[in-house]
């Protein structure tokens, strides 16, 4: 067993409130009620503890983090603690005044989500009319403020034909970086998997388009590409290993090894209002449950990639097999892999496009 490493980054999910209703939202199905959100002082303490523990970055996320009126105060606190601050936003609730005060508080980067390269499909996916124009206006505000901008596109069967347009748009709005992130199927996305899953052929075309764009745009746009792991040969190194790099704090203060961990029913998570972050990182049952390699079953245990992918994704193992301690079915060596691929291919072909929108009470 290697020594416990300090975490690198904190994902602060300030709220689950959001004007958008994207059917692949990474929030849990049971959305946290506004009344249960942590107050400012608790967030500031948690942010300071994260910096003290070794975190270098904080990502302010949600829900839509700008609905919290104390966001400026939290950004200022993180900046004072020496953290690199990133705002992950839908951009529909930001105006020039707010962005100016966030920049003054020390905000260093904005990641702006787009549901598509155009309004028609994008607004159907987000369930919010007028969102696209607001997002474009926010992108301009961010660039006018001199902040670096990442354009985030979650990609799936219903918008993948616009991949080239998405990348062109990222360049046109002055983004430094684009994220082309295939949907990861937990929570809401799992519920909507049949409406989102691409076919293997579509994925191969997408990957080729990204490779060509990377070559064409070197030095102009950094492209991060997240593949859908259902068609992978080996699993992703989920979170860089459970309890190894990342901390996630939920709106009510629950400390999670990843943002989807609450989908693991039966697992208890400590709350930063009750225990220090250092104690939770080091000692909590949830963080230690799948940390390192001792918990692994075969074929992971004797795999030469076990310290590369760390056994893949626990939430996916749970979502597909009902057992979080099994090998990630995305791995070609998993006994569940063939079933996973068949399931994906079948859903891609059936092409049922209706969504269950992400709303309070809809999960």
């Amino acid at each position: 067993m290697t020594a416990l490493e300090p975490p690198l980054a904190l994902l602060a999910e300030l709220t689950h409130r959001c004007p958008l209703q994207c059917p692949y939202c990474s929030n849990p199905l049971a959305l946290e009620k506004p009344a249960n959100e942590m107050p400012t002082a608790d967030w500031l303490r948690a942010i300071n503890e994260a910096a003290g523990l070794g975190c270098l970055q904080v990502h302010f996320s949600g829900g839509e983090p700008t609905v919290r009126r104390d966001l400026e105060e939290l950004v200022a606190g993180a900046t004072a603690a020496g953290l690199y601050t990133n705002l992950i936003t839908s951009g529909v609730a930001l105006d020039a005044k707010r962005l100016t005060s966030l920049t003054a508080a020390g905000l260093e980067h904005v990641q702006l989500s787009f549901q598509d390269s155009g309004a028609e499909i994008g607004e159907r996916i987000g369930g919010y009319e007028g969102a696209h124009a607001k997002k474009l206006a926010t992108a301009k505000l961010v660039r006018d403020a001199g902040l670096p901008l990442t354009a985030n596109f979650v990609i799936h069967r219903q918008n993948l034909h616009h991949l080239t347009e998405m990348l062109d748009m990222a360049v046109a709005i002055g983004a430094h970086r684009a994220e082309i992130a295939n949907v990861q199927y937990y929570g809401w996305a799992l519920k909507n998997r049949a409406a989102l899953m691409p076919s293997r052929t579509q994925l191969e075309e997408m990957t080729a388009t990204v490779a060509a764009a990377r070559a064409r745009l070197e030095g102009v746009l950094v492209i991060d590409y997240v593949v859908p792991d259902y068609y992978a040969r080996r699993p992703k190194s989920c979170m860089g290993g459970w309890g190894r790099r990342f901390l996630n704090i939920s709106p009510s203060g629950k400390v999670l090894p990843c943002h989807a961990a609450e989908s693991l029913t039966g697992m208890a998570f400590d709350n930063v209002r009750q225990r220090s972050l250092a104690e939770i990182w080091r000692d909590s049952e949830a963080f230690n449950r799948f940390r390192g390699t001792d918990w692994m079953p075969e074929p992971c245990k004797s795999c030469d990639r076990k310290e590369i992918d760390w056994g893949g994704c626990r939430c996916q193992a749970f979502a597909i097999t009902g057992d979080a301690a099994r090998t990630d079915p995305a791995c070609g060596l998993s006994g569940d892999h063939a079933r996973l691929v068949e399931l994906a291919a079948g859903e891609a072909e059936a092409a049922a496009d209706g969504f269950v929108y992400r709303r309070y009470g809809a999960g």
């Binding site: 690198l8 070794g54 270098l56 020496g82 690199y84 260093e108 990641q111 670096p148 990442t150 030095g219």
Partner: protein, 96 residues
């Protein structure tokens, strides 16, 4: 659309705005904090990046490094400097 910038001894590079050169106390190493990524700098990379201040031309940076590391041949240092700065400029971590 902007063109790719090619680095030469005449380039005057610096960190891009909002890239932060930061000492990581918990892990005793130098890093650059960048949007959703973090670059670990080994001592050589730190020696190069910390000299790229947006004022010094790269040939001056190389001359300074030759003084600081008298054991290393100038052409090796020059090659290392170009490779590192080009890589960081391509990744929009540095500007030149």
């Amino acid at each position: 659309m902007s063109e790719r910038i090619l680095i030469s001894m005449m380039s005057i590079p610096r960190l891009a705005p909002h890239m932060r050169l930061r000492h990581d106390k918990a892990r005793a190493q130098w890093t650059i904090q960048a949007p959703e990524r973090s670059f670990v700098l080994d001592p050589v990379a730190h020696a190069i990046v910390s000299r790229c201040d947006g004022v010094a031309q790269l040939d001056a940076v190389v001359a300074d490094l030759c003084d600081a590391f008298p054991g290393a041949p100038r052409e090796v240092i020059e090659k290392d400097v170009i490779a590192l700065v080009q890589n960081f400029v391509d990744k929009s971590v540095m500007q030149a």
